[in-house]
Symmetry: C2
Subunit: 428 residues, 2 copies
């Protein structure tokens, strides 16, 4: 069922085709989403209520839940579940905390000092998808770095669950993050609300989070329509597993299926140096599929996927770098020596005992990652995503002696006389 | 000539209006640019030759200059000019070199190790504008961090000057950067060529650089059409000068005019705590304007600009943070104590002896900065812009003992059975 290719037989064109994701711009959706955006811009809260009724089948009196509502819902989950969410919170916090650092001042010439300082993005919007799986883990993955960065206002939007509520897991995560309010708005309308602001929902500077194709399209559109920026373009989730003869076929199959159960457009790519292992993985996939509740989704996603047989690990990494996977799992005893060759990937899982699901939830790394080949130029979400670095410089009289004539000469040669004058006037 | 407002008299709506930039989406330009992009995508090099003939009035036999051509052109500039470009190169290098650091590994639980590693974006495209002022400084500001990051392929495009050449300053900067080729293509067609690739021009992963409204529109469009990313959205350049009673009106006027000479859509905002200083600055602007060769441009830009009188420096900084200027100059003896309050700005120039032109050319900081209020969520270009950070994780058997059940519980509560299974299968 998994199409299998031999790397050495692939032409450059075929490789190009294999590493391409189906990034359909889909202008039918574009028109719908644009209309939603315009409505929210024009009619604010009323448009949000109307769309929530239309799309989520919920009539909202109030667009949000506050501290007390959240506290009540959080109490509905078990002690064990609370504990698991706390451990995830702590690990994510520990890893992300290490990303924030002060930079040193550089004196580029005597009396010319330059440095950068970190400032949080003041207002951020976090979109937490509802739908086929509710993802409290996404709230932790976005909320923890936002808190560490020191963002002043954290606006959280998520589509309402059963009759204008949210689930208890999301509520408990809000408590862990000390976020006192959640807006019960989903879809493109949530993105529009955070981009333009309404009487109830604050306008933000940057919008984060995954979502369905409507949310994704809305994020990419508001990027052009407003001064609001976004974390990254998002597409369907994907994994690429590199497995050599030391790999356990049952582990590899489990990892491919974990990706496949996300949705029918997920891709789960196997790259193996070993034909026998590949065959065993395919058998294991069949066997494990039988046991999955989300079997139908996973089966269809597997149809979109394929296996590539390479002659050695070097070729396997070469193919992976061309594909630039969101998640890369290296199931080989030689994982250590392969690290320096990995150029394009979102997050990498090393060795036989590091499944992607560890990073999806609790190892500490972020699970909001570049898909669709964007790992070639984007990093995953981190504290970096919630800050700006402002450059500062200060020049003394001594500094002017050193740098002045250089600036004058360069302004002159670029034909910018007033630039030159701004320096000259200080040198007399 | 400069409209003057009193901050205490401004309503919230009026402040909103003042800090707004005229970010006209301009769909007339959009259609032209889309057509250029489609033509380049379809006809490659031939389209580039045709557009260069049409827009730049140059017939190109060859789309680029190579090492020998560059060397010959670089020899046409003076020793003094070479020296100034070298000093700028060195200072920019020194400051940007300090931005690249290794990160430490975090053991979030015993046996669960997480870390990030830096990888260069492999292929980057640098757009160097021609037109009313040729800017070799921009080549240094983009080329130096690209080199420090370790980008494998650096593609440089710039519109051809006099009969298919480039100017000697740009040529000399190419030599300093050890870049052996420059493509003589400008405008939207250059952006399209780097986004799709042609037989001559390589496809890149990310495109950098300022440009006119066609270039800017092309960058924002290819971001949606392809998997290529861009440095940031770009608008007209701008400065905000905060001047208190300790400011020298002639310095302040020179700084405002240096911004104004960029183009008629530039903004040069004065925020002062002192009416007398403001009046003197306005007089000085009149006086210094007389002496400028680009006087007409500067005069029109000044019409787009305004002054705000505040009661104290606190109000001045508050207004500046709402405006989020690309360049912020603080001409006050109290510059040091104001630093922590600066939240939104691209690059900041501190004290009376630090003109913006120092940072435009040679202090070491980057001059590719967020305009139009984007400083609320974007940083200027730095080495960070040319790299990705990939997260890695490795779990041992001990680590599985610590993290396993947490991952199982979380996968279970999100209803993702295959995610759970990928962990459980390793725990038996």
């Amino acid at each position: 069922m998994l199409n299998t290719y031999y790397y050495e037989q692939l032409t450059a064109e075929k490789i190009d085709e294999l590493v391409q994701r189906n990034t359909d711009p889909n202008s039918a959706i574009q028109d719908t989403v644009l209309e939603v955006i315009q409505e929210v811009k024009k009619h604010g809260d009323q448009a949000l209520k109307d769309f929530t009724k239309q799309f989520d089948k919920v009539e909202l009196d109030k667009l949000y839940l506050d501290k007390d509502d959240i506290a009540a819902l959080a109490q509905t989950i078990s002690r064990e579940q609370m504990r698991a969410l706390e451990i995830a919170f702590q690990n994510i916090h520990k890893f992300h905390q290490s990303q924030l650092k002060r930079e040193r001042t550089v004196e580029t010439m005597p009396g010319v000092k330059c440095w950068r300082e970190v400032r949080p993005i003041e207002k951020v919007g976090l979109y937490i998808p509802g739908g086929s799986a509710v993802l409290p883990s996404t709230l932790l993955m976005l909320g923890v770095p936002a808190r560490i960065a020191g963002c002043k206002e954290i606006v959280v939007c998520s589509p309402p669950q059963n009759q204008g509520k949210i689930n208890g897991f999301v509520a408990y995560c809000l408590q862990l993050l000390q976020i006192d309010r959640i807006y019960l708005i989903g879809g493109a309308q949530a993105v529009a609300a955070m981009a333009y602001g309404t009487s109830t929902i604050p306008k933000v500077n940057k919008i984060f989070g995954p979502g369905n194709q409507f949310v994704t399209k809305a994020k990419s559109l508001i990027q052009g329509l407003t001064d609001v920026s976004i974390d990254m373009p998002a597409g369907p989730s994907e994994v690429l597993v590199i497995a050599d003869e030391t790999a356990r076929p049952d582990y590899v199959a489990a990892d491919l299926l974990a990706q496949a159960e996300h949705g029918i457009d997920s891709q789960a790519i196997l790259v193996s140096t070993n034909v026998l292992i590949t065959e065993k993985v395919l058998q294991e996939i069949q066997r494990q599929l039988e046991l999955l509740p989300r079997r139908e989704l996973a089966e269809q996603a597997i149809q979109n996927s394929y296996a590539v047989i390479t002659r050695d690990l070097e070729e396997a990494i070469a193919f992976s770098n061309l594909y630039a996977p969101e998640h890369l799992i290296i199931e080989s005893d030689q994982w250590k020596s392969l690290i320096p060759r990995i150029v394009n990937a979102g997050s990498v899982f090393l060795g036989h005992l590091t499944p992607e699901s560890a990073g999806d939830y609790a190892s500490g790394t972020n699970h909001t990652l570049p898909t669709s080949g964007y790992a070639k130029s984007y990093s995953g979400v981190s504290v970096d995503s919630f800050i700006k670095k402002i450059t500062f410089q200060h020049i003394t009289e001594e500094g002017l002696q050193y740098i002045g004539s250089t600036v004058e000469t360069l302004a002159e040669l670029e034909g910018l006389q007033a630039h030159k004058q701004a320096m000259s006037i200080r040198m007399t």
